[in-house]
């Protein structure tokens, strides 16, 4: 009887789930296999499925012949900078939204939500003109600012819902004990919100790391994040798929690993945001 129900479960649940998981993973796995196949083999017999034909050849060439490590550093600086800028200005804003009822609160909250909906194309063109006249095109700072257009509104909303989940009575108690508002924020609310701040920061990092259009338009010779660098691996006359795949795998790794590490908490926050507003 139980054997039969186990069998039934495998047919109706495990097997379909396996199919969907395979569908979700197959393209990336194919990319990894491609990156492990040496270029000569790739053009002769195609992607090697057995470990016998694998080598790190493409990865070695990626590190030795291209500036990929430098591009990784660029991405790291930009994504890290975006996290710092995004969180710094958002924490206090989120505290204001969740703890105070003031004139214009709704309007300001809506403003931050609205920014998130703006087409990036509408911002990218004037930002290019603006940054060119100020002279911050092709700098880390310029790209950090550009990514902040996405990061700040997102962080404000996420942090507002995190802080709202902490009982008001806690900071009121601290204030009765003689703390000022800001001390209460620093000593009581911040430590309690830390998990939320960290996952928001990680999500900002992932988005900034993966960002492509700003990097392409506002970056250039000096500052070239990985997402743009991967595309320049396409050769002039023919596409070197092995090298390209290696670049794609290395470039995608940091964000993917971070995502898998924090997915549970991240998704909790994101869905709460969407389900409850």
């Amino acid at each position: 009887m139980t054997q039969q129900s186990t069998f039934r479960r495998i047919i109706t649940t495990d097997l379909p789930v396996l199919l969907i998981v395979l569908f979700a993973m197959a393209p990336f796995v194919w990319m990894i296999l491609t990156s492990l196949t040496p270029t000569a083999t790739l053009s002769a017999t195609g992607v090697s499925l057995s470990p016998m034909g694998w080598s790190m050849d493409n990865y070695v060439r990626l590190i030795e012949q291209t500036s990929f490590l430098k591009n990784m550093l660029d991405s790291l600086i930009i994504a890290g900078g975006t996290v710092v800028v995004g969180l710094l200005v958002s924490v206090t804003a989120a505290y204001a939204f969740s703890r105070f009822r003031f004139t214009g609160r709704k309007l300001l909250m809506m403003q931050f939500l609205l920014i998130n909906m703006f087409p990036i194309v509408l911002l990218i063109l004037p930002l290019f003109v603006l940054m060119r006249s100020v002279g911050i095109l092709d700098t880390h700072f310029g790209l950090i600012l550009a990514n902040a257009t996405v990061a700040i509104p997102f962080a404000v909303w996420m942090l507002t819902s995190y802080i709202a989940a902490i009982p008001k009575s806690l900071d009121e108690a601290a204030m009765t004990d003689g703390c000022s508002r800001l001390t209460a924020l620093r000593k009581v609310v911040l430590p309690l919100t830390m998990p939320g701040i960290i996952s928001t920061g990680i999500y900002i990092f992932i988005t900034a790391w993966n960002e492509y259009l700003y990097a392409l338009t506002l970056g250039g010779r000096n500052v070239r994040p990985v997402t743009v660098a991967i595309q320049t691996l396409i050769g002039e006359y023919q596409i070197e798929w092995g090298l390209l795949a290696a670049g794609a795998v290395v470039g995608a790794m940091p964000a993917t690993i971070l995502f898998l590490l924090v997915q549970r908490r991240l998704i909790g926050g994101l869905t709460q945001g969407a389900v409850k507003g």
Partner: protein
């Protein structure tokens, strides 16, 4: 009441009351100022630019043309092609993502031993950079060496290799398939959260009453996840409409104009022809068209906030 004849204690309270009134604005100031400078200023400039004939490499030839760019747009056949492609793009991608996401969520909501692992693995497409996704699928779709053609020819589903991204009739559907793959995990995760919010007792009561699995799905599950579907769906329409990086890397809008969507057309006009005046006028038009969905979403979300 003047401050001079109040006691120090009273003065302290007046001061505290005042700063308490001002404090939220002070706390908000950094975020508001930064967004004003990097979002709203550029936006106003975009609208402004769209009234000018501005080619970036000859800034001196810039001149005010009023609604000239918009009139030009109206008579531009590529604009109408791009508009139609945008509608097709949203109209197919979002429902496909939602359908596949719903299926995945229903499966993941069941009990099985490796559920946590499956849930983690299924979101991989969501974490990948869009450039990687686009290049990956270009490699899969490649007419000569791509694995998709190999598989389809091997299974004799097609006789000869299909040039997925080079055929103007097929290219946009190929990209829609890619975007469906990229976006379904988002729906799966959101819907799963909705499913877990439905009380089990409702299902128990229904099965005691003898309701079939299908009827339970229609009368309990669907109403239970309807709010999530609406919110996630709206969010996704806006997101899919805006996302052009995958198309840009996969086909660059081609062959011909077959995969041009409105934001992509604006981007290409500005990037390749440096025609910023016309480019921004397309972007502004697109934003206005998208506005309806944005307003719906804002209204929905702000109503939730008020509660």
């Amino acid at each position: 009441m003047s401050l001079s004849n109040t006691s120090p204690l009273q003065r302290h309270w007046v001061f505290a009351w005042r700063s308490e009134r001002l404090l939220p604005y002070l706390l908000l100031a950094p975020a508001v100022v930064v967004t004003l400078v990097i979002v709203f200023m550029p936006m106003v400039q975009a609208v402004w630019t769209s009234f000018y004939d501005l080619i970036l490499f000859k800034p001196n030839a810039s001149k005010f043309v009023g609604f000239g760019n918009y009139v030009k747009l109206f008579n531009d056949p590529v604009f109408w092609t791009a508009l139609w492609n945008t509608l097709l793009w949203i109209g197919l991608t979002v429902p496909l993502q939602m359908g596949l996401g719903l299926l995945a969520a229903l499966l993941l909501n069941r009990e099985f031993p490796w559920r946590g692992l499956a849930r983690a693995l299924i979101i991989i497409p969501w974490a990948l950079p869009s450039v990687v996704i686009a290049l990956m699928w270009r490699w899969i779709y490649d007419p000569n060496t791509g694995v998709l053609n190999d598989i389809l020819v091997y299974l004799s589903i097609v006789q000869t290799a299909v040039p997925w991204l080079a055929d103007p009739d097929v290219a946009i559907y190929a990209i829609i398939a890619t975007l469906t793959w990229q976006g379904f995990p988002f729906f799966a995760v959101m819907i799963l959260a909705g499913l877990q919010g439905i009380p089990k007792s409702q299902y128990e009561a229904a099965s005691i009453d003898g309701a079939s699995a299908w009827r339970q799905f229609i009368h309990i599950t669907l109403p239970g996840i309807a709010p999530v579907l609406a919110t996630a769906g709206l969010l996704r329409v806006i997101w899919v409409a805006n996302s052009m990086d995958v198309i840009f890397v996969m086909t660059g809008g081609g062959p011909g104009y077959a995969t041009h969507t409105l934001p992509l057309y604006a981007f290409i006009k500005a990037r390749q022809n440096l025609d910023f005046g016309y480019g921004t006028s397309i972007a502004v038009t697109f934003t206005i068209l998208l506005g309806a969905f944005v307003v719906l979403y804002l209204a929905r979300t702000m109503r939730e906030v008020e509660r």
